[in-house]
């Protein structure tokens, strides 16, 4: 396994071995999930949250992807303040880190307000 550490204030999206991932905050916890819609591979990080905050709506075909299904395939991650460490079986030298508008699922408390 290989580790990759970065500051989430600087980066919230990365490409490892050609596969895109993005940081998703759900209920106050941070996850690194695949940035690829299971329908036709659309960039979910550029999508939007459904009104019930349970789904991400893909910008390509408006597919509704449940957050729960995304989280099940999340990459092992540890966040300490803004320092994020993720683990991959292989990290190629062409890893790409970038910053995109964040997509955040509100906390239960925020949802109830």
């Amino acid at each position: 396994m290989n580790r990759l550490s970065f500051d989430r204030r600087q980066f919230n999206s990365l490409v490892v071995a050609g596969e895109p991932y993005f940081l998703l905050d759900v209920d106050g916890r941070t996850f690194l999930v695949r940035d690829r819609c299971p329908h036709r591979g659309g960039p979910l990080s550029l999508g939007r949250l459904s009104d019930d905050a349970q789904h991400i709506i893909c910008p390509w075909h408006q597919s509704r992807i449940t957050c729960g299904s995304l989280l099940r395939g999340a990459v092992p991650l540890v966040r300490r303040r803004d320092d994020v460490t993720v683990l991959f079986p292989l990290i190629d030298k062409d890893v790409l880190l970038r910053r995109r508008p964040p997509l955040t699922v509100p906390t239960r408390k925020e949802k109830s307000q």
Binding site: N2, R29, L32, R72, A74, R79, R80, V86, L87
Partner: protein
């Protein structure tokens, strides 16, 4: 708002200030909270940046007391006149009251961990191993900043004693939290942990028990060896680390405990080898470092045993779902160790600077006066902001470390008490009068 039982608990006669600096030969007596005008609110979770504030110190003192009502503590000289203290410390109603206060106090001081650390995603055994390998490698490669700070002070002997006092938090009751994980039934991993516990207990040979080795270390320094003699000199950060292990086992977070204990067992060998060298440089050959030498040796084995025969087999047997808890334990204790080191280093540096000399007070600074009589009950505390102690009449000892000389402050002099720094006040004349001014108010 605090639970109503809190005042009853902290007002118990066992928890009043001590007659001298130390609480000698009585493990039940422990000053918890100077009942001053402070209105401490334990009902909210402190943020990470507030972990060294006064309410955290008091909460950790109360928590350690509550946790230890489930440990058997008997004075070395025999109970004798302490039988009443013993009865009251372990009274069922008293323990029930402590147990009811525990969740609020734990949330106050450990609640921040949930926000400070996230562990997410689908973890595998390979990811677990890789993460621990790297964390342990980093831990062992890091410079020993506490050892460096001790040797950099003007009085490294006093600084090293202050460090030993923090070790005494656990050193004299070593492996008490671990003992609470040994019951039950969890297969070969339980036996593995028991082997480590047997090492801690010297295979039943009292002279080889780690706490006995630690007593000998203290003796070689001419220090007190009774449990919690130095109660008033435990700092907030080190107490938090000590309490963390009780906190996780008392709350059923066994896998976090395993992650945390694996990490510390894996970095202690190097840490204690550093400590032994520092003690020998400071004190020469007169200091008995067998306690450190034992840890420097046996923790090489304990690091391997906890990792290979406890942590990994638990993950194999109980599935990937438990791995985030193992990782969380590592990260939580790593964060608390960092806070503890920062707290101790700041205390050593402040005591070193404060010991230099008090300075002349500027005229017209006196505010609300406080009079202290010689022999008044002693307790230590911290302030959440810098305070200027201005002596008006008589002389006072500002106690800034568990050993070494206090700072004598005379009428017309002032001394700065830096925020979050542990200190105590003792009248050096029949009575003395002083004021404590917030430096923020002075600036206005």
């Amino acid at each position: 708002m605090n639970a109503p039982q809190l005042n009853s608990f902290v007002s118990h006669r066992l928890f009043e200030g001590s007659t001298g600096l130390y609480v000698e030969r009585n493990p039940y007596r422990r000053p918890l909270w100077q009942q001053t005008a402070d209105d401490l609110d334990f009902s909210r979770a402190l943020g990470e940046s507030e972990q060294l504030c006064y309410s955290a110190l008091v909460a950790h003192r109360i928590l350690l007391t509550i946790y230890e009502t489930n440990s058997v503590l008997l004075p070395a000289q025999g109970l004798g006149t302490l039988k009443r203290d013993y009865d009251e410390f372990y009274a069922p109603a008293w323990r029930t009251m402590g147990a009811s206060l525990r969740p609020m106090l734990e949330r106050h001081v450990f609640g921040f961990l949930a926000d400070a650390i996230t562990v997410s995603g689908h973890w595998t055994r390979d990811a677990l191993r890789a993460y621990f390998d790297r964390a342990i490698e980093d831990g062992n490669a890091a410079p020993n900043e506490v050892a460096q700070a001790i040797e950099a002070t003007q009085h490294p002997d006093v600084a090293a004693d202050s460090f030993l006092i923090q070790l005494a938090l656990d050193g004299l009751t070593e492996a008490s939290a671990m003992s609470r994980t040994l019951g039950g039934a969890y297969g070969p991993e339980q036996s593995e942990l028991f082997k480590i516990f047997i090492d801690e207990f010297g295979y039943g040979v009292h002279e080889a028990k780690h706490s006995r080795l630690f007593e000998n270390l203290l003796k070689s320094r001419g220090m007190l060896t009774d449990v919690h003699s130095y109660w008033s000199f435990y700092l907030t950060g080190p107490t938090a680390v000590n309490n963390y292990f009780y906190y996780v086992v008392e709350n059923g977070h066994f896998f976090r405990y395993v992650g945390a204990v694996t990490f510390i067992e894996s970095i202690f060998a190097k840490g204690f080898a550093d400590t032994a060298r520092t003690l020998q440089r400071v004190f020469g050959s007169a200091v008995d470092t067998r306690y450190c030498d034992e840890h420097a040796h046996i923790d090489k084995h304990h690091g391997r045993m906890t990792f290979e025969h406890l942590l990994l087999p638990l993950a194999d047997k109980h599935g990937d779902e438990i791995i985030p808890e193992l990782v969380r334990g590592l990260e939580e204790v790593r964060l608390l160790l960092r806070l503890a080191d920062d707290d101790l280093i700041a205390q050593l540096r402040w005591a070193d600077q404060a010991a230099a000399h008090p300075h002349a007070a500027r005229a017209g600074l006196a505010g609300t006066n406080v009079t202290l009589a010689r022999g008044a009950p002693f307790a230590t505390r911290t302030f959440d902001e810098d305070r200027l102690l201005v002596m008006i009449q008589g002389e006072l000892d500002l106690v800034i470390s568990g050993t070494g000389s206090p700072l004598r402050v005379r009428a017309g002099e002032a001394a700065l008490i830096a925020r979050q720094r542990l200190h105590g006040l003792q009248a050096a004349t029949e009575s003395c009068t002083f004021s404590l001014e917030s430096t923020a108010e002075l600036r206005q």
